[in-house]
């Protein structure tokens, strides 16, 4: 059995409010694994902690946040013990991340070429000429036409789809082992989304890249991911191989998410199934199992105590009292 590329063990990240009086458990006791070259999807509503999780792995949290417990094992090493200097060498070079808004991600004052070449020059000490020519190759790899002219242009001269590819090119420039994508298609037009996703898949295949794909879109998860983790109120409520989760969801929340996606074959007159209630306030989550106020199968136990993670099938876990005697 190969050692997983990335393994999170009971990771917890907390935010402190400005007055230091309230603590928000943005990421609460999260454990996940990811094999090399595979794709893990992380699904959840806003406020579920997905982005904080990504930033925790990169150890680039805002000053109000702190990792308070757990381990992040990447290629066998615990990232939490790394010095800032060592982390810097890991970021961009061994683990890369792309953000949601491509326009905001690119510095408006520098050329495209400059921004791509920068990673190469910093991490690999490439000379300006070498970095520039590799940047050209990268632009071609992300299917941008006329790369030589494009390299000298500025971000505001590109379309949204192009910018996202450029961000992708920057990410894979130094051949990282892991790419974290935080809602990369959310701000793209639908027609461009499909192209972009297929591009990501090709990049993954060509570079044996593992991916963590953060999204709220189950359709994308189905298309892109090998495994998926569902997050709710900072916890992973269910995780497992994609087929398992989609065919036999073990957690009521996952089940509700899947049912809420309307299908063409649904009865035209039936009401659209929606999950009752509101997502919880991250700084004041409900007691016990955080989903209990909205759960159709809630029991007394759910309100009193938070369920531990239970193995439901091979590699398939869920946090639900329904699966415990």
């Amino acid at each position: 059995m190969t050692e997983p590329l990335l393994e999170l063990r009971a990771l917890s990240t907390h935010y402190e409010s400005a007055r230091g009086t309230r603590v928000t458990r943005a990421v609460d006791d999260v454990s996940l694994t990811l094999e090399p070259g595979k794709t893990l999807g992380i699904v959840g509503e806003s406020g579920s902690g997905k982005s904080t999780l990504a930033l925790s792995i990169m150890r680039l949290l805002p000053p109000a946040a702190r990792i308070v417990g757990g381990e992040i094992r990447f290629e066998g090493e615990n990232l939490l013990t790394k010095s800032p200097r060592e982390m810097r060498h890991i970021r961009g070079k061994r683990i890369a991340m792309i953000l949601q808004d491509p326009m905001a991600s690119l510095n408006p004052l520098f050329t495209i070429g400059d921004q791509i070449a920068e990673s190469l020059r910093v991490h690999e000490g490439a000379s300006r000429a070498a970095a520039w020519s590799r940047a050209k190759g990268l632009l071609q790899a992300v299917r941008i036409s006329a790369p030589v002219t494009r390299m000298k242009e500025f971000p505001h001269q590109m379309s949204g789809g192009m910018r996202q590819r450029i961000v992708g090119a920057i990410a894979v420039a130094c051949e990282p082992r892991l790419l974290i994508a935080d809602e990369p298609t959310t701000s793209l037009d639908l027609t461009i989304q499909a192209q972009y996703l297929s591009l990501l898949r090709d990049l993954q295949r060509d570079h044996n890249l593992a991916m963590i794909f953060i999204t709220h879109n189950l359709g994308i998860v189905a298309k892109m991911c090998d495994a998926v983790a569902v997050m709710y109120a900072g916890r992973v409520v269910e995780a497992g191989p994609i087929r398992q989760i989609f065919n036999k969801p073990a957690h009521p929340y996952t089940r509700a998410l899947l049912e809420s996606v309307p299908r063409l074959t649904d009865d035209n007159h039936a009401r659209l199934p929606a999950i009752e209630g509101q997502p919880p306030d991250p700084s004041a989550p409900p007691s016990g199992c955080a989903f209990h106020p909205r759960c159709p199968q809630m029991m007394e136990r759910c309100q009193a105590q938070a369920p531990p993670s239970v193995t439901v099938a091979s590699s398939h876990t869920a946090r639900c009292w329904l699966h415990l005697p």
Partner: protein, 294 residues
């Protein structure tokens, strides 16, 4: 608290930073003190500020050699008591400062609302004028106006109002432009209110916040400008005790080392302006975080 509500975690030790005080104690205290002094100067001042005895010229403050208890903070080149002049000077600075700020504010807010709400050529005219006057450096313009009008307390107020209304107009117009699009304004138009009524009842109350913040920040600027004008001789005319005038007089004794004639009035100006700035900053953050841009 029942089980399904907040599970607040253990108190984390307070951070020392980033606490907005509930009340801006220091600036209010300073301004309050000055207002009190301005009102009670007649009672508080030990001597007549405008009359001095030539035999007591250039006396240092009481704690220095040659000082006397009759003149705690010394005397100036005409033998006038510095402490009394400082106390009455507060009155002048505050009266001129407040009045100018309010008048400029009234003018600026009115024109800003008119420009923003009425649009069209009214807007164009007002904005061109505002931009041009904003481009003129306040001090130079003020000096020019003061030279044209002649020195007197009233004229200074007029001058300062003319110079500083533009600061208000610009900002208020911007706010009005965005307020115009809001629902309650549209509803008022549909209900048939006249433009004047809308401007008065709906727009005006909503821009008051910014106007107040601006006014507080302007107070400091106006006080310094008035001091500069008086220092140059085109502000408050002698023998009235204005801090700026005292600085001008103090210059005569500077080379001889008569420090109290320069340092003390300046400190007064500094405290007033500091208080105004602190108050303005506090108000700015408290009333509307968007006003950070000011």
């Amino acid at each position: 608290m029942n089980a399904s509500t907040a599970v607040v975690l253990a108190e984390v030790p307070r951070r020392a930073s980033r606490r907005l005080s509930s009340y801006p104690v220091v600036p209010l205290a300073i301004i309050g003190l000055m207002v009190f002094i301005a009102l009670a100067a007649d009672v508080l001042a030990p001597h007549n500020p405008e009359v001095g005895s030539l035999g007591m010229r250039f006396r240092p403050p009481v704690w220095q050699a040659g000082g006397s208890a009759a003149h705690l903070l010394g005397t100036d080149h005409l033998g006038r008591d510095v402490l009394s002049r400082l106390l009455f000077g507060a009155r002048v600075s505050l009266v001129v400062g407040f009045t100018a700020v309010v008048v400029a504010g009234l003018l600026g807010v009115a024109l800003g609302i008119a420009a923003g709400y009425l649009g069209g050529w009214v807007d164009e005219v007002i904005m061109r004028l505002t931009d041009t006057w904003l481009a003129l450096p306040a001090l130079t313009f003020a000096i020019f106006l003061a030279a044209v009008l002649g020195p007197s307390e009233l004229n200074i107020i007029i001058v300062l109002s003319c110079v500083y209304w533009t600061r208000y107009a610009r900002v208020i117009r911007g706010e009005v432009l965005s307020l115009k699009e809001r629902e309650f304004v549209r509803l008022a138009i549909i209900a048939g209110c006249s433009r004047l009524t809308i401007m008065r009842r709906h727009i005006l109350p909503n821009v008051l916040n910014s106007a107040i913040v601006l006014a507080t920040l302007m107070l400091g600027v106006v006080v310094v400008t008035e001091a500069a004008l008086s220092f140059l001789g085109v502000g408050v005319p002698p023998p009235k005790p204005a801090w700026g005038l005292m600085l001008a007089d103090g210059k005569r004794g500077l080379m001889a080392g008569y420090w109290w004639l320069t340092v003390l009035p300046g400190l007064c100006i500094m405290f007033l302006v500091l208080a105004a700035n602190l108050l303005g900053d506090w108000l700015r953050v408290k009333l509307d975080p968007q006003l950070r841009q000011l």
